[in-house]
């Protein structure tokens, strides 16, 4: 910009109002404004606007942020889901061995854990039985709307859910549905392999708490792995060999979230 120029560009006026000019250019604009009352009025108006806008929105940044915007808390939730799965899988193998020896091996565990997880397995098995037999409408939202399904159920369960991709293990997503679980929403994802075997992944939201290792149950002729993450409890149900189901459960655990 030059002091010689008679006509000031509008960009220069914006830059003046936004305070981004150096001393030399600022002086040039001020000199221009003295002789151009219309531009001076524009600049005054824009300056008032800036002031009003700052009064309008500036205070938001001064207010303390609510707990759900705590960056460390958000990161913690993710680490539980994605970072520690190896340790979890190792624990799963150990407990699987116990389970193989003990049938409904929850009997071998401390009572409180068993009582807390029994309804989960019951509900998961009931939902599995009800919907895997369904031929025409096994799911509410089909796999071709995978993104919508994930967004919808994440919203309803109030937790970020990434639908596990189990294709490497031979299981394609059929779809999913929302279910009632004792007054709360629950999510069910259904998968199917080439031979028509179906497994379901049942997820209920839980209060923030300690994660658990993989546990195994045989129930009503069905095999089930269940576990608890920081904010969700999950049960994988299917009529599959235990070792195969464990592999799927490990994969699902790793990919959820």
């Amino acid at each position: 910009m030059s002091r010689d120029r008679k006509i000031m560009t509008e960009d220069a006026l914006h830059a003046y109002v936004d305070g981004v000019l150096d001393d030399y250019d600022r002086a040039a604009v001020e000199e221009h404004l003295v002789n151009n009352p219309a531009d001076a009025e524009t600049v005054a108006s824009w300056s008032r606007q800036n002031e009003v806008l700052r009064s309008l929105y500036g205070h938001v940044a001064d207010a303390p942020a609510p707990a759900h915007l705590d960056v460390y808390r958000i990161a913690d939730n993710r680490n539980v889901l994605s970072g520690n799965w190896r340790r979890m899988a190792a624990a799963g193998i150990l407990l699987f061995a116990l389970g193989a020896a003990g049938g409904w091996f929850g009997h071998n565990l401390a009572g409180s854990t068993q009582l807390a997880t029994m309804p989960l397995v019951n509900e998961a098995v009931a939902a599995h039985n009800l919907y895997t037999r369904e031929v025409i409408h096994p799911v509410e939202v089909k796999a071709d709307q995978r993104d919508h399904l994930a967004a919808w159920l994440s919203k309803r369960l109030d937790r970020p859910l990434d639908i596990p991709d189990l294709r490497a293990l031979g299981f394609d997503l059929v779809g999913g549905r929302l279910l009632p679980a004792g007054g709360r929403p629950a999510a069910q994802f259904m998968y199917e392999d080439k031979t028509g075997r179906r497994v379901t992944l049942y997820i209920v939201p839980t209060q923030k708490g300690a994660e658990s290792s993989f546990r195994y149950a045989t129930f009503d002729g069905l095999e089930s792995f269940f576990w608890r993450d920081e904010t969700i409890s999950c049960a994988l149900v299917g009529s599959l060999p235990r070792e195969e189901l464990r592999e799927i459960a490990t994969r699902a655990y790793k990919e959820l979230g």
Binding site: E10, D11, H14, A15, D18, V20, T42, S45, W46, R48, Q49, N50, E51, V52, L53, R54, S55, L56, Y57, G58, H59, V60, A61, D62, A63, A65, P66, H68, L69, V71, Y72, I74, A75, R78, P160
Partner: protein, 168 residues
């Protein structure tokens, strides 16, 4: 990782302020910020500090906001009067409550792309180059959006309404 989280944390107040300006709704704004933070932390493994972190976060927030907007196909609700900041006390130089409400209404009539640009420059204090980069547009386009936004706000707040600012 923890240093990275600290850096993100220092940007949260600005993200909340920008989201509020975009949506004019405290709850929707904070939902937007939460989605933004979750996405940022999820993607942090891929991020290389090639540009300022704050600009990257603004870009993520804007992407989520625009997707939401497309999905809902609606403009922000009017800013409720009781959500305006309380009236400045005794300082005649500060804008009054009426001017705030008037400008808040005018802001909602702006096309989203103009509001996005104006807020980045005026409220977030980004340079023109940084604001243009966040919005993914050339600086010239940014300046023209800024110009149109300012012209519309001026028109809506200064004509047809009593010019209270001239009253002594």
């Amino acid at each position: 990782m923890s240093q990275f989280l600290d850096e993100i944390e220092t940007c949260v107040p600005a993200l909340r302020r920008y989201a509020r300006g975009l949506t004019h709704d405290a709850d929707i704004a904070d939902d937007l910020v939460q989605d933004c933070l979750e996405r940022a932390i999820r993607k942090s493994g891929l991020w290389r500090p090639s540009g300022p972190l704050k600009a990257w976060l603004f870009r993520i927030l804007l992407n989520i906001y625009r997707n939401d907007l497309r999905r809902r196909r609606r403009t922000p609700d009017p800013l409720p009067f009781d959500m305006l900041p309380s009236e400045p006390q005794g300082l005649a130089a500060q804008p009054g409550r009426l001017a705030l409400a008037e400008t808040a209404r005018a802001m909602q009539t702006l096309p989203s792309e103009q509001r996005e640009a104006l807020l980045l420059v005026v409220i977030e204090g980004l340079s023109y180059a940084d604001a243009a980069s966040v919005l993914g547009i050339p600086v010239g386009t940014l300046m023209s959006r800024l110009g149109r936004a300012r012209a519309t706000l001026r028109q809506l707040t200064e004509t047809g309404a009593p010019r209270l600012r001239t009253v002594k």
